[in-house]
């Protein structure tokens, strides 16, 4: 069985923040870090160092700018996914206790908590407790634990341990309030259960008590869409996850029903419809799989606090659409915005144009979903949408009930040969060229983005040598072949070229051809679109109802009706990619 040998955590400047050895004699962090840094930038999460003695496999993840290492050098180098999952769980647990995002100062300020977490999560390298929520039962977070110990040891407070005092001060400074140091302590009933047996439910801590009982369902879908140069969608997925926040006393037993919003109709009963939309689901262990299979509802006893209830995948292209969908890809997918890139413009072909468009019917579909959402929430019995969820982005659309588009960003990565982007002319928003990343980033405020769309035109400059080469290239007799290969260019490019040629006159067709061919290498080959839409889901899923089963639940008074909130969010983190 593969064992976790150690966990090392580095901060964003690669200073060692923490090292915890579980078992064996793993290579120290001071040895591993330089070897890790030797590898070029996008580093693999599994690296093998045969030169070390003993030869070591290093697993690493990066979360919130912190670098997590776990070396494995023993007799069994184990299963990579196990170790990586473990590292992610460590990061999650730290986040749960110290608050998100994870900051170096927070870890340094709470070594006592961190030490307990790391000691509990794995014992001598065997992972034994991955549930952050269950750790709540065994990790002491009460204030003054460390001081209590230090007092008994005879050390004056925290002055004698430089790391601790420094770290503590830092965390206070950043957070601005004492609450940060013990982020958990604000919530009631965080004292670990002193019960003899621990919780009966492995993922839920025992003796949960809340003064206000709240339940929130957040459905977040992340888009991943690839569009061919013609605008035809090649692949379109939405990766959804249901984040559930439960702040209910006792042991609640919940029933969450979702509906597909009309998709998959005629697929038999509701469970089948739902499953035809939500594909390849994964669940938190609390979900009763049998009921999902038979009825298509999520029945579960939640852990306390926020957790990922379910992950799923939605194929936005139907089984038949790939062949039929034409140019109106954006509207067929219901995306709120689209991008088109035209390259090879201008007299010497070194301009390109990015056009941001708004399909006509996207807003309608979205608001319909939102409207039905409202009605459903009303019927759900005490469900109310969280006021913040819709109003925050409402400034753009003006309609607080309609979904609102935010953070519209277009990124156009340019080849490394591009020396400079001389002109950036956005019709709306602001654009800038970042030489370090090698891309043009164009931000459009949601309120500027109307049905007319927006246009960005850029002129790029190639390397110095390329410009002077032009004459030579023509001399070599390129004319015959450049015409040939234009045949497989996208049609838009050709059309624009022809018109350009006409306006140019025919006096210098050869040099224009050569220039265009030259600058074609400098043209972007793709662009990505990022945005967020609140109150709308690409899949059309809806929360139908969220019921608390009073018979099965325990520790919650009959009359208590928890406050329920639902939030929908669709984001694209460079997820919409347009080839050109």
């Amino acid at each position: 069985m593969s064992a976790i040998e150690a966990v090392y955590i580095f901060d964003e400047h690669n200073n060692l923040l923490l090292s915890h050895t579980y078992t064996g004699r793993p290579s120290p962090p001071s040895v591993l870090l330089p070897l890790y840094l030797q590898h070029a930038a996008p580093r693999s999460s599994v690296l093998y160092f045969p030169a070390l003695n003993p030869s070591t496999v290093l697993y690493s993840i990066i979360q919130d700018n912190l670098l997590f290492f776990s070396p494995s050098s023993g007799t069994d180098t184990g299963e990579p996914l196990l170790v990586l999952e473990f590292l992610h769980r460590v990061a999650d647990a730290l986040e749960e206790f110290l608050g998100s995002p994870l900051l170096a100062s927070k870890i340094a300020g709470n070594y006592d908590v961190v030490a307990q977490i790391l000691a509990e999560i794995a014992d001598a390298g065997v992972v034994c407790q991955g549930e952050a929520n269950a750790l709540r039962d065994v990790v002491e977070t009460g204030p003054g634990v460390l001081n209590n110990l230090l007092g008994k040891v005879g050390l004056p407070g925290n002055a004698s341990v430089p790391g601790l005092s420094g770290g503590g001060g830092g965390s206070l400074g950043i957070g601005g309030s004492g609450g940060l140091q013990r982020p958990g302590s604000g919530i009631s009933s965080l004292q670990p259960a002193q019960t003899a047996q621990g919780s009966a439910i492995p993922w839920r801590r025992s003796n949960v008590r809340h003064t206000s009982n709240e339940l929130y369902v957040d459905i977040v879908e992340t888009l991943s869409v690839t569009l061919a140069p013609s605008g035809r969608p090649l692949a379109a997925f939405a990766y959804g996850s249901i984040a559930f926040t439960s702040k209910v006393s006792g042991v609640p037993d919940l029933l969450l029903s979702l509906s597909t919003g009309g998709k998959g109709a005629g697929m038999g009963h509701r469970g089948d419809q739902l499953r035809s939309v939500m594909e390849r689901t994964v669940f938190h262990p609390c979900v009763r799989l049998a009921r999902w299979k038979s009825e298509g509802v999520l029945s579960f006893v939640p852990p306390d606090g926020r957790f990922a209830l379910c992950g799923y995948e939605v194929e936005l292209l139907g089984a038949d659409t790939p062949l039929t969908a034409g140019k109106n890809a954006y509207s067929s997918l219901g995306l709120p915005a689209g991008v088109e890139v035209t390259t090879g413009l201008g007299t010497s072909g070194n301009d390109f144009e990015v056009r941001l468009t708004q399909p006509t019917n996207a807003g309608g579909a979205g608001s319909a979903a939102a409207a039905s959402l409202q009605s459903n929430l009303g019927g759900g019995g005490g469900l109310g949408s969280r006021p913040s969820s819709f109003r925050a982005g409402a400034a753009g659309s003006g309609d607080s009930k309609g979904p609102s588009l935010e953070n519209l960003v277009v990124r156009v990565p340019l080849p490394t040969a591009v020396r400079n982007v001389t002109e950036l002319r956005p019709s709306k928003g602001e654009a800038h060229w970042s030489p370090v990343d090698g891309c043009v980033e164009w931000k459009v405020a949601a309120k500027d983005f109307g049905p007319m769309g927006a246009v960005l035109r850029c002129t790029i400059q190639g390397p110095l040598a390329a410009d002077s080469d032009d004459a030579g290239a023509v001399m070599n007799g390129l004319t015959a072949t450049t015409y040939d290969y234009n045949d497989d260019e996208p049609s838009a490019y050709q059309a624009s070229e022809k018109t350009e040629k006409h306006s140019n006159g025919v006096s210098v067709p050869v040099s224009r051809e050569a220039k265009v061919a030259k600058s074609r290498e400098l043209m972007p080959t793709s662009s990505t679109l990022s945005f967020g839409v609140k109150g709308w889901l690409a899949s059309g899923l809806k929360v139908e109802s969220l019921l608390l089963d009073n018979k099965k639940s325990r520790g919650l008074g009959q009359e208590v009706k928890p406050y329920k909130g639902v939030k929908y969010l669709t984001v694209s983190r460079e997820g919409i990619e347009v080839r050109c």
């Binding site: 050895t21 599994v46 007799t75 990579p80 001598a124 034994c128 991955g130 579960f300 290969y485 099965k552």
Partner: protein, 712 residues
């Protein structure tokens, strides 16, 4: 301590607090103690007493901590005490303590391997435990301690399988690993797969007949051992686990143990791992490649998941391209088109690595599916006129491979390449084309373009790069050789000159030099004249060809002789001597016109095909050496029928009525049950607690623990 700053100086002061009543302080002290005990064994031993006292604390949590800490202290002297503590822990009635005992077993073994027999005894108790979260760590300990003593597993096998769905993810991982090995060793394969990648030829009848003797049914089609079936079915709910490692483990289980129906079900969840964070996505892709190489079919419908995104880092897109090429032959027409145009798109990109890989991928696609080879070739041919030298040379390499695989049908392709020779400037590309022409110089001797190409090339000889010059010389040699072979060598007037062969070139060297220099000079003049003549009347060549080719050859030699490159001069001299005498012409024939082996461009991960999926060795690949990383072991072969352990060993005496339907019970179901009698349980637990403390006084904790558990 965590900053690697010295904290050892406080050791005695901290350890004094080990007896502190406060639970919180105790925890921190324990952590400190475990960390530093090795450096201060004597002082650490002083704390043992206090810890031992905690072992009998009434609070199970304290007992858990004490047991864990004690076993964690790395001082070998205490191994017997630890062993005793584990023994007591195994009989504890709190499952949490039993879990801690299970976790302590490997630690104790590491302290002192001599305790193995005792520990194995404890393990067999724990493996049969009724609590699912005790069994998980027990299995982990078993794998650590004695993974080969499978006899221990027979009895708890069915209960392990039953508990699989309820365990936590880490327990599931350990159990799946154990049971996969166990199944290979204990369930003989009664269905003979000819090859995992060819599911059509699934049954080997002969074997079936032999093996079906023990079951007695002659027409039995597929015999999966019912116990194995139990395991496979129990795995199914795990496919919806959120833990990617569990999913890969199930896939491994299905891939190596089960029929293709099962693996087809597991493919979807495996593909779903593509939405995990990038680090895990990378590992998942390795596994996907490994599985897809064996069984590509079920992946075909997920092709869309493997499209390369512009912001994928190199290690991701490399694997994605590979998956695409593996799936290519199994896709529908639509997707084939999409894949090809995707690859074409990336081959026009700017990242040289990506360009190279995608061009190679096109080549692999063409290899994998001959019906699209033409389309691929057309795309590649379209690319050789690109301005991007990198793309051109890579495309040509792939084209060369494709042509070599099926030379007879590609004559026209070569012609087309020749047309491009005029415009291609990239040296590698030119060299490749010239080499190809040389390979085709022998076909259709009366209507071959090779001499003509050679004639044109020679004109610009001086301006070519060295690599191209070499190929030109080689082409010349081949053309000349063909010419010699077709015409009796007698006709050559040059033949009488030197009869020496390559045996004594050093002797003849100065002579030859002078000799040929003159000769060359003449020939140069002649050949230039001839060339001009040829240009004017290209059709009328039949009669004069012999002379012309000879002249061409001499001219090349002359040009090469005065080249600046040693290498080129040496090569030219070698060919010259080879072709000079009729006796060595046969030798030259062998050398120059030897049939070239057909190049095969395998998928980059071909070398990893046989590695166990889910293992680190699969990810590291060939770098890990022949035997893989330390600790790597592939699955054992199926046990030979007749040598498997008696299935009756697996019958669990205590619970004989195990039906396969109960295996699908989930944690949720269990929870329902727990909730129903939750109060009752906790009350009885408290009562037992009280009883236990009473018993402790007279019979000692071990006995009490046992009886307590029985009552529970």
């Amino acid at each position: 301590m965590y900053r690697s700053e010295p904290s050892l100086t406080f050791f005695s002061a901290v350890v004094k607090n080990v007896a502190s009543a406060s639970l919180e302080v105790k925890k921190l002290v324990y952590i400190y103690l475990v960390h530093h005990a090795e450096a201060e064994p004597d002082l650490a031993l002083l704390s043992i007493n206090a810890i031992q006292k905690s072992l009998t604390d009434s609070n199970p949590q304290v007992r858990v901590m004490a047991l864990r800490t004690m076993s964690g202290i790395r001082v070998p002297v205490i191994s017997q005490i630890v062993s005793l503590a584990i023994k007591r822990g195994c009989g504890d009635m709190s499952p949490h303590v039993r879990k801690a005992a299970a976790l302590a077993i490997p630690k104790c073994y590491r302290l002192d391997p001599n305790t193995l027999p005792q520990l194995t005894g404890y393990l067999s108790t724990l493996l049969g435990d009724s609590q699912y979260f005790v069994v998980g760590p027990a299995v982990a300990a078993f794998l650590d301690l004695c993974p080969d003593e499978l006899d221990l597993i027979h009895k708890p096998y069915r209960s392990l399988v039953k508990k699989l769905a309820d365990m936590d993810e880490w327990g599931q991982l350990a159990t799946l690993r154990l049971l996969t090995f166990y199944a290979r060793k204990c369930f003989p394969r009664r269905t003979q797969k000819v090859k995992p990648s060819a599911p059509v030829a699934f049954y080997d009848d002969e074997k079936n007949e032999q093996e079906s003797q023990d079951t007695g049914e002659e027409y039995e089609v597929q015999v999966t051992d019912p116990d194995l079936e139990l395991l496979l079915r129990a795995c199914k709910p795990l496919l919806q686990s959120r833990n990617s490692a569990v999913i890969v483990s199930v896939v491994r289980c299905y891939l190596y143990l089960a029929s293709p129906d099962y693996i087809a079900e597991a493919v979807g969840p495996l593909v779903a791992l593509m939405r995990t964070p990038q680090d895990m996505q990378h590992i998942a892709l390795f596994n996907i490649v490994a599985v897809a190489m064996r069984i590509p079919k079920p992946f075909a419908k997920y092709t869309a998941h493997f499209l390369v995104h512009a912001n994928d880092p190199p290690h991701i897109w490399r694997l994605k391209l590979e998956v695409l090429t593996i799936l290519f032959p199994h896709c529908g027409k639509h997707w084939k088109g999409v894949i090809i145009s995707e690859l074409e798109h990336f081959s026009k990109g700017t990242d040289p690595e990506l360009v190279r890989e995608s061009v190679r991928a096109i080549g692999r696609c063409a290899q994998g599916d001959t019906s699209t080879a033409d389309m691929c070739l057309r795309i590649l041919l379209g690319q050789i006129s690109s301005l991007d030298g990198n793309l051109v040379s890579e495309s040509l390499t792939v084209i060369r491979h494709l042509i070599q695989q099926d030379p007879t049908s590609h004559k026209s392709t070569v012609l087309q390449l020749v047309k491009n020779l005029g415009t291609t400037t990239h040296p590698d590309a030119r060299a490749t084309i010239i080499w190809l022409i040389g390979e085709f110089a022998g076909v259709e001797p009366e209507n071959n373009i090779a001499p003509d190409v050679l004639r044109i090339l020679i004109k610009g000889f001086a301006d070519e790069t060295e690599i191209v010059k070499q190929q030109i010389v080689l082409l010349g040699a081949k053309v000349y050789l063909h010419h010699l072979l077709q015409n009796p060598p007698k006709e050559k007037p040059e033949a009488p000159a030197p009869t020496e062969t390559a045996e004594k070139p050093t002797k003849e060297y100065p002579n030859e030099w002078a000799d040929n220099a003159d000769e060359g000079q003449e020939n140069a003049d002649q050949s230039t004249k001839e060339n001009e003549g040829e240009l004017e009347q290209p059709e009328a060549k039949e009669e004069e060809t012999e002379d012309r080719i000879t002249l061409l050859w001499r001219y090349i030699l002359l040009l090469a002789r005065y080249d600046t490159s040693y290498d080129l001069r040496d090569r030219a001299r070698l060919y010259k001597n080879l072709l000079e005498t009729p006796s060595s012409v046969q030798l030259a024939n062998l050398l120059l016109l030897a049939p070239k082996p057909v190049p095969h461009a395998p998928s980059p991960s071909e070398t990893r095909k046989d590695l166990l999926i889910g293992s680190a060795t699969l990810v590291v690949g060939p770098e890990a050496g022949y035997l893989g990383l330390p600790g790597y072991s592939n699955l054992p072969d199926w046990v030979v029928p007749g040598q498997e352990p008696n299935p009756s060993l697996r019958i669990d005496e205590t619970k004989p009525d195990i039906s396969s339907t109960t295996t699908t019970s989930t944690a949720g179901d269990r929870l329902d049950r727990a909730l129903l009698n939750g109060y009752a349980e906790s009350q009885s637990q408290q009562r037992l607690d009280r009883c236990r403390s009473r018993w402790k006084e007279d019979t000692g904790p071990v006995a009490s623990g046992r009886r307590g558990r029985g009552g529970h």
